[in-house]
Amino acid sequence: MRALAPIRAVARFGTVIAGGMLAACIGGNGVTATGSKPVTPTPNTMMLTVDTGPSAATGQINHAYVTIKVCAAGSQTQCANIDHVLLDTGSSGLRLVRSVLTAAAVTLAPELDAQGQTVEECVTFGGGQTWGPVALANLSMAGESADKLPVQVMDDTGAGAPPPASCGANGTLINSVSGFGANGVLGVGVFAQDCGAACVSASTPLPLYYGCTSAGVCAAENLALADQVTNPVAMFAADNNGIIVNLPNLQSANGDLKVQGELVFGLSTQTDNALPAIGLTVLGTDANGDFTATYNGGTTVLPALIDSGSDSYDFNDSTIATCSTGAYVGYYCPLKAPMSVFAVNSGVGVNNATNEVPFAIADPNSFVANAAAFAGLGGGGGATNFVWGMPFFYGRPVYVGIEQRAAGPYSGPFFAY
């Protein structure tokens, strides 16, 4: 059923620290010679770690982090390794907290629009919004690189233009390290740009990209695709058609202290990123990046995605009690846990597989207090969509295919597992 042969999976998953027990450290970043690789393959695998977060914001749960290398565009020397960047398969594009860049002495040149104004962006993430300028960076991950990559600088220090009244008006601004529990967000979803065509030529520009005068007055504006915040994978010279997220099963139902897996770039471009020939469920998405899901035998068809940026299974079930006190307010606290439920996923378009996924919701009050990874966390509760968050990733490889790129016999956009 699962993609990787067992021996292979063990070698790739590295260490798992569960409940204070250190499992044997096998392998490392998974770039082991197999004898059948091309002569000089591009290193396409990097370590993925679930831990309690950056030192400035510890206590995070179900956050999968990578360490990336960022340089000012065009600079060989103004570079820094930024740790604890949150892997997000639910968005596209890299966003970095300004104070983190400043502390690392990296200054990214702002992108300017045709009028010479700085381009700034306002993006809604759940109950919060990010605000800050679009800037250009050279990004390196494993052996891959994206030069002059448009990224968002999340302006926690307020060095740039202040957010317009419409940004922050949907909740709270989450520009800081504590806002995401991360030093940045690496969006590696199904799209090449974060907004796409809707931001290029709308008769009324979306409240997403803004042109800001030197006086800090901002107005929504359209932006060409090449200038939009861009999925760095789509800019790689090779291995640019998608990613694989590999995380192992957790050791403890009550939470693991730390988990290590890997992020692999490219789909069926090298010997280490082949799409499995059998047992793979490929769910094509619509133009919005959603496949569909129906929950627990219900008839309501919901837009759905597989989202490493969400820390729980997020869905609506009014029969499950919601935690009202403690560290998990707003999450599900089933009276009898674990509670077994299921949902049926269906792909959209050519990749129209249908697949039923059983899952279980735990009582988070039973979780180990200082652990970082929890398999049974459910929450959110909105009735307008269905989100396969981080718990979905434990124990199954997840494949993300980028729009308009072929990946083996398939074509993006898709999620697969």
């Binding site: 639910g90 968005s91 993006v123 809604t124 993430f125 759940g126 109950g127 919060g128 009244a165 419409s166 008006a169 949907n170 909740g171 709270t172 995401f180 529990g181 969006g187 979803g189 799209f191 974060d194 907004c195 809707a198 931001c199 709308a202 008769s203 009324t204 520009p205 979306l206 409240p207 997403l208 133009a287 919005n288 990046g289 959603d290 309501t300 837009p303 995605l305 989202d307 940026g309 969400s310 820390d311 729980s312 997020d314 869905f315 609506n316 560290a327 998990y328 307010v329 707003g330 999450y331 929450g379 959110g380 509760g381 909105g382 009735a383 307008t384 969509n385 269905f386 989100v387 968050g389």
Partner: protein, 156 residues
């Protein structure tokens, strides 16, 4: 559901049937039909009307591809709003006087920024919001003002 045809006369008829006294204009939830018109102007959208089960739907469609619906009960009060599109419309305006309560309830949740599906409940207000870049959707309603027999799930 929205019929697709523009029926400005519906508004007037609805007003004549239900509104006895002018309600002070306040945008979004809790507002009146004048406030809906102001919202349409604010969001630079075109307005269409249609009847639901026991309510009037005013739909605002913007040139940027956002769709907002405001649901008015027999008293001419907006008891629910919904939205969908590639960005989230300004909730401060759509939730109107209920926005501070929403913010307070949001702040009481753990890690609200890390959920792409959210349900926020206060004694007077329910907000369900979700989605991601390119596709956001949600609704907010005042349970006490929903017409009898109308299910929240229908308010889309």
């Amino acid at each position: 559901m929205i019929s697709g045809s523009i029926k400005p006369a519906l508004l007037t008829a609805w007003l004549g049937a239900g509104l006895l006294a002018a309600v002070p204009a306040s945008a979004g939830l809790g507002g009146d039909v004048e406030a809906v018109r102001a919202d349409a102007a604010e969001f630079v959208g075109t307005l269409e009307s249609a009847y639901g089960a026991d309510y009037l739907i005013e739909q605002i469609s913007t040139g940027s591809g956002m769709r907002i619906r405001e649901f008015l009960n027999r008293d001419g009060i907006v008891f629910a709003v919904s939205w969908s599109g590639p960005a989230v419309p300004e909730l401060q305006r759509l939730l109107g006087v209920h926005f501070p309560a929403y913010l307070a309830a949001l702040a009481a949740l753990d890690r609200p920024g890390l959920h792409r599906s959210l349900r926020v409940v206060t004694p007077d207000l329910v907000v369900e919001a979700g989605g991601h870049l390119r596709a956001y959707q949600g609704r907010a309603y005042l349970p006490a003002l929903i017409p009898a027999g109308v299910a929240a799930a229908d308010l889309r």
